[in-house]
């Protein structure tokens, strides 16, 4: 991350805004704050933030509506802040173009990790993609369709390879069931979550030392999966 990156915080609770401003400020970010949707739209246009943190429970309008409005003209990464029992809200927000989410309560390290990933992906869009992606001990050669774990070759089925490659291109980011199904099985298959789950289980078995306690391919219950990259 670059010093001086602007983070727009859209949050109605003053105390929460104060925490985010202090935490991000001490890590070199410039924080601007909006307490309402109207303010948020104005600030997002004027200040050109590098990342937007959006609380889904805004008082003067739906956070989801705001997200859809933003996505009409902006590709700025958006990380939504939401409560634990609000899985449906998170999935809706992610499918509507949010980049990631944080479940309240969260700590500073989690917050910074999410922002780091969002910034990296936003910047990588302009760079030519390397066909080889390395994450921890996992190495994925997209051109040759080869995968190794700690140098040892691993045989993956075509579906497993496509799943892994898609997750790896978005390493660190959560991907919803719908996004994964759409990418791997096609647009008409977004309801078949059970196949996705079974193939993810197979993939964990091949890549993880302890598949019941995955280090890399983690599950976000009710939302989707994430390939961790740190």
């Amino acid at each position: 991350m670059t010093a001086g990156d602007v983070v727009l915080v859209i949050e109605d609770e003053t105390a929460m805004r104060r925490f985010l401003a202090q935490a991000l400020g001490s890590h070199g970010f410039k924080v601007i704050e909006a307490g309402t949707c109207a303010q948020a739209v104005a600030l997002a246009t004027e200040a050109r933030p590098a990342v937007i943190l959006l609380d889904l429970g805004l008082p003067d309008g739906d956070g989801l509506e705001l997200l859809r409005t933003l996505r009409e003209w902006s590709t700025t990464p958006v990380i939504v802040l939401s409560a634990r029992d609000r899985e449906d809200d998170k999935v809706q927000a992610l499918d509507a173009g949010a980049d990631d989410y944080l479940t309240k309560p969260f700590g500073v390290s989690e917050l910074l990790a999410r922002i780091r990933v969002a910034l990296r992906h936003a910047r990588a869009q302009t760079v030519t993609e390397d066909p080889v992606i390395a994450i921890g001990p996992i190495r994925i050669d997209q051109a040759r369709h080869e995968v190794t774990v700690a140098e040892a070759p691993v045989h993956l089925t075509p579906i497993e390879f496509r799943l892994l490659a898609f997750l790896a291109r978005h390493a660190g980011k959560v991907l919803t069931h719908r996004q994964l199904l759409h990418e791997v099985w096609g647009p008409r298959s977004t309801q078949h979550t059970q196949y996705l789950r079974v193939h993810m289980a197979a993939l964990r078995k091949k890549l993880e030392t302890d598949p019941a306690r995955p280090r890399w391919l983690t599950t976000e219950p009710g939302v989707g999966y994430r390939l961790r990259d740190e």
Partner: protein, 361 residues
Amino acid sequence: MVAALPSPRPTWRGYVFAAAVVAAATLVGLAASQHASLADEAMLYSLAIVVAAHAGRGPGLLAAGLSVLAFDFVFVEPRGTLAVADTRFVFTFVVMFVVGAAIGTLTVRLKRREREAMEAQLRARTEEVRSSLLSAVSHDLRTPLAVITGMATTLRETAGDAQQEGLDTIVEEAERLSRILQNLLAATKVDGGAAPRREWVPVEELVGAALQRLDDALQGRAVRVDIADDALAHLDPVLGELLIGNLVDNAAKHTPAGTPIDVRVRREGAAAILEVADRGPGVRAGDEQRVFEKFFRSQHAARAGVGLGLAVCRGIALAHGGTIEVEARPGGGAVFRVRIPDGEPLPALDAPPALAAEAAR
């Protein structure tokens, strides 16, 4: 006005009421007899039957019968007897009784519909109030919790060693409070009768997610996982993760640090069996049922709880048509066993041909 909500089973008061209404109709009819025809008197009795039917079907029928008798006795020649001079009136009586009975039945049905609609409306409103209250409370509690966790972790970054431990405790306790809140919300959701969203899920995935969420709370405790043949369960994945997490958290809370926790999963017939076993002091004899009650607290918890975790587990098991039980573990400790029966036949594990073909393109 008759009672707004007549009881479905009329009491003797209903029958007395029906008799009184017919008597009143007779008196009114007598008073007006100078100006009224026999048809008018018959109409008056119809009105009486409608009114009496408000007290129920029985009183309605009684009113119909009494009306025929009173009409004959008081108004039809020869008056003062039940004898009938003109046989055409027998037909009138039959029509009067049948119409009266029909009106009574319709009135009762209408009343019942009205009552059902009102009850449904009341239930919907109660559910609405309950869920909006809960989301308001949870929002109001979550925000301060999020600020506490956030601020404490911010301070922890620059704090000296002396403060580190205190800040760690603040973060841990805030997380614990957040778990309690989650269970409180889950308890109301499950008790409220919201149907679980069942899907076929590899149980391993739920165990992995639960252990990841509890990572801090488990403090490096050894959790051994044994899942037979990639067992699938047909359950709501969010509730399933909470169920497993609560059982593991409960075991960690009630057993000495350093003792292992075992999570075992297998399929048995058309059901998935989840077991969480520990090497703690076990459940006291006689408490095997009570541990699943809300707000039950055991004597030997290392960390105090509110007594919701296991109650939520039972709620989740029941919501899936399943069972939960605890028994002594051979060699010491307790085994919690949950059985989640399949809600539909186990599907083929591989993608259907159409999907596979598309994936191979």
